[in-house]
Amino acid sequence: MSRAPAHNALFWLSLAICFPLQMMPLPPALLPFKPFWLALVLIYWALEAPERVGLGMMFVFGLIGDVLTGDLLGEQASRLCVLGFIVLRFRPRLRFFPMWQQSLAVLALLLNDRIFLLMIHAFAGDPLPAPSFWLAPIAGALAWPWVFLLFDDLRARLRTHDG
């Protein structure tokens, strides 16, 4: 399958932009609402272009995220692997969900991710986080339609541009 270089650029750029976006500071009141951008973008590409993102890709991007945040090496990598596995497994169904159902599915995925993260930190001996810890998946689910529409639109534009 031959891809236009513009598509490649979009793919890599969209993932590269996630890292600064994830570390970007917000006013303290908004901070708990920051979605897991890398997960959202990787879910999108796993749904739309699964030949590009396998579990290995998820793992590598997770590792990059770990090194950047300096938290625990392998934490984001394992989270994204779990996430990616579920998305790739249910991809044929997820793809044809209407938008609101897809958002709900993303909410479930991100909640699952939060539980997994909590498990990791419980094993590491960290105390339970504040209740606002659970707000980020909701923000992620609300952000999902916009991420989806944005990338779909960008890809459609690139396609007509190429064609």
Partner: protein
């Protein structure tokens, strides 16, 4: 890749393969996490990759930087003048107090010489700015724009104008990470200013901007509103800096201790500029032996009574 064949292959053909891959990757990740948790390898990886990491930090901090600059540019002129006048007044007050303190310090040094006290309060401090990035919800940390190239090292204390902020836990060439005192895994030796009671303050486990004092003796004299200062034990934080103020006191779960919650006095979430302290004043461990009293050993006389004078 196996998934690309989805259209042609039967629906569940490669699911076993996918599961196997998941297990392999998860195992690798878990091994890495355990190794990192025990050995802290991530610090070494990050030190090696600092040339990549630091630009990402700077990029992530860019919007906040632009926002701050824009706010300065767009601020009303009259407001700036007002602020300037206010700062001038405050500086005058601070200098007046400082002048008084200078004489007090002079007096203090004289008294210390009289008492032969070894330690001094000489402090070297270095100004640093916050790099505004958010390193995740779990660990309460901030990032500073000074690093090992600026001779900042792990273990140095970080303060702002109003109190203690935390301790440097990681340095890259031009960036360093500070663990705040509100981090639950961080403990800081404090003393209650009013009574001198020494205890330990830990980061609040609720995740908020609070400190916990879990082990205060029931009989101790502690009141709401008491100010906490660093006690200087432990060797990281020099003695006498404000840490926080006690807000609530209750019994702990066992009923053997009183537990207090304090609010940090440093503005942990909105400090723009901070000070990195250079010198650790008190050496760790017991003080040196006092010089022995009595006449010098060579005058100790005729051999009937030999007094051995230990040299310190």
């Amino acid at each position: 890749m196996a998934i690309a064949r989805n259209e042609t292959s039967p629906l569940f053909a490669d699911s076993a393969f996918g599961t196997l891959k998941l297990i392999v990757y998860l195992t690798v990740a878990i091994v890495m996490m355990i190794a990192d948790h025990r050995g802290g390898y991530i610090a070494r990886v990050r030190a090696g990759l600092s040339a990549v990491i630091e630009p990402v930090y700077r990029i992530a901090a860019l919007p906040a930087l632009i926002g701050n600059d824009a706010r300065i540019v767009l601020t009303d002129r009259s407001k700036l003048v007002e602020q300037n006048a206010d700062l001038g007044r405050r500086l005058m007050l601070a200098e007046a107090t400082l002048n008084r303190y200078a004489s007090v310090q002079e007096q203090n040094q004289r008294l210390q010489r009289l008492l032969d006290v070894q330690r001094s309060l000489g402090l070297g401090a270095q100004l640093a700015r916050l790099v505004e990035v958010d390193p995740g919800p779990f660990h309460r940390r901030i990032v500073l724009n000074v690093g090992s190239d600026d001779r900042v090292g792990v273990g140095q204390a970080v303060i702002d104008a109003t109190g203690v902020m935390g301790e440097i836990v990681e340095t890259l060439p031009h960036t360093s990470t500070v663990m705040l005192i509100t981090n639950p895994s961080q403990a800081i030796p404090v003393a209650i200013e009013r009574t001198g009671l020494r205890t330990i303050a830990r980061g609040g486990s609720g995740g908020g901007d609070t400190l916990e004092l879990p082990t205060i003796p029931i009989s101790a004299d502690v009141k709401v509103g008491d100010r906490l200062i660093t006690s200087g034990l432990g060797g990281v934080y020099p003695a006498g800096f404000p840490v926080g103020e006690i807000r609530t006191i209750s019994n702990d779960a066992t009923g053997l201790f009183a537990a207090a919650v304090a609010i940090p006095s440093a503005s942990l979430d909105r400090s723009g500029e901070v000070l990195v302290l250079h010198e650790i004043i008190d050496s760790i461990g017991p003080p040196d032996l006092a010089a022995p009293y009595g006449p010098p050993a060579d005058l100790a006389g005729d051999g009937t009574t030999t007094v051995k004078v230990p040299k310190p």
